[in-house]
Amino acid sequence: MSSVAVPAPRRRREAPLALGVSTAYLSVIVLIPLAALTLRSLEGGVSAFWDAVTDPQAVAALKLTFAISLVVVLINAVAGTVIAWVLVRDSFGGKSLVNALIDLPFALPTIVAGLTLLALYGPKSPIGVNVAYTTAALVLALLFVTLPFVVRTVQPVLLELDRDMEEAAQSLGATSFQTFRRVIFPNLFPAILSGTALGFARALGEFGSVVLISGNQPFKTEVASVYIFGQIESDNVTGAAAVSVVLLVASLGVLLAIGGVRRWATRHDQ
């Protein structure tokens, strides 16, 4: 498991309090509730779980969620890389302001994000673009909230990238596209991948920013988290819990995959 092969110095039993408190805290806040959720989804047996997950409305919501999330993170993989590139390699007035702005989607409450997009791209749009209550609105909302992920994973890698390699490639006659494809991109790829994966996990569970702008029409613009919310409201706890478990498993899977990508990237470096 441990990736560092430093011979461990003789350790005092450090931070015993820290370990105990951490475990207890994580259990009460995170683990026990998630266990309760999983058990509740299986309360009626596996067949009841399966029925809940394969409910047509649930299937439609899950399919839409996965499809839109994929589209969104692919767009932001490209846009995020371009933005990171401009922030690192370009110089213009107000660059540090733009750099600070990248974190706005992290800092701004999601419900406010949804409201602001609805103001500009909704029925009362001053520029005459109305995408409210369509899948395009979902895409916009998710693009907004997942914007920082790729930028913030690619930026540090780009900063540390050795320019000698690029110059070497160019002096050997590579075009700038070839240099990007053969020299720069392979170095950025692990960072792009892990940023994209984080964004994907975030998009799968997004709620606040889509709830106002998507219209939440079943089979059309209802994403998984909105579906779960609706089922809780209408007291179908088993249905809500079952779809929740699907999202939980997907999130865990993405996190484990990111761990895998990071280990692969470190090996790549050596």
């Binding site: 461990a8 408190v21 702005l101 409450p109 419900i111 406010v112 409201l115 709620f207 996190l255």
Partner: protein, 261 residues
């Protein structure tokens, strides 16, 4: 030429997605004048929502700061069974849907949940009340301090701590005099992120609060409630308050990054 094209694409994308929408809401919030804006954010419901949001953050952020530092120490300084699991569990709140978080909490602390009936019999109502909203906020903002402190702890190593211990410092003294000063910027950065997340949480709090106006309505819930009640102007005004808090967060992040470098 290509450089300008890339710059244009990057800045255009940011403008269309972030700057213009947020700017428009700020403009709309003030278009009827400052007096209208202040009237909208000083209604009893808005003031109560703001107050409740601040209370929740004041409880959740210190809890997650203390826990975050402890958890980071446990992850970095100790080798124990389940090390990898703790590491992934800490990240989980970042990737999990807030609605799922809310539902999971209801299933434990709600009336029909594992401990809910017992808690209610003993006079503690968690769901549809402040404690549940605090727990939900703690859940979603849990990873930030841990994530910021872990790399700093790794980087500083434990040589100084060992030296202090050799010279006879207790582990408490070592923590206060050696470890904490070394990780302070990491902790500060984590606290800023935690605060931003705590102030802005919507989905999880929406599920556990019951959204009772004037009682369990936070600022974000107030924005939604005003919007659904067709009082868009009020929703814009409350959004501007939240956006101002977000801008403060960005400012703090930028300053801390500079301080650290």
């Amino acid at each position: 030429m290509r450089r300008y094209a890339l710059r244009f694409v990057a800045l255009g994308y940011l403008a269309a997605l972030l700057v213009v929408p947020v700017g428009l809401v700020v403009y709309r919030a003030f278009q009827d004048g400052i007096a209208e804006f202040f009237a909208a954010i000083t209604t009893p419901a808005a003031l109560h929502a703001l107050w409740l949001t601040i209370i929740i953050a004041l409880i959740a952020v210190p809890l997650n700061t203390v826990f975050g530092v402890m958890c980071a120490l446990a992850i970095v300084r100790r080798r124990f069974r389940g090390h990898g699991l703790v590491n992934s569990v800490v990240d989980l709140p970042l990737a999990l849907s807030p609605v799922v978080v809310g539902l999971a909490l209801v299933l434990v602390y709600g009336r029909n949940g594992w401990w809910g009936a017992w808690l209610i019999d003993n006079g503690v109502q968690v769901i549809y009340a402040l404690p549940g909203m605090v727990i939900a906020t703690v859940f979603v903002s849990l990873p930030f301090v841990v994530r910021e402190v872990v790399p700093v702890l790794r980087e500083i190593g434990d040589e100084q701590e060992q030296a202090a211990a050799t010279l006879g410092a207790s582990s408490w003294q070592t923590f206060w005099k050696i470890t904490l000063p070394a990780i302070r910027w990491g902790v500060a950065y984590g606290v800023v992120l935690t605060t931003a997340r705590a102030l802005g949480e919507f989905g999880a709090v929406s599920v556990v609060s019951g959204r009772i106006a004037g009682r369990t309505e936070t600022m974000t819930l107030h924005v939604e409630e005003r919007f659904q009640a067709f009082e868009v102007q009020d929703a814009y005004a409350a959004s501007v308050v939240l956006a101002l808090l977000a801008v403060c967060t960005l400012l703090a992040m930028t300053l801390l990054r500079r301080e650290d470098a």
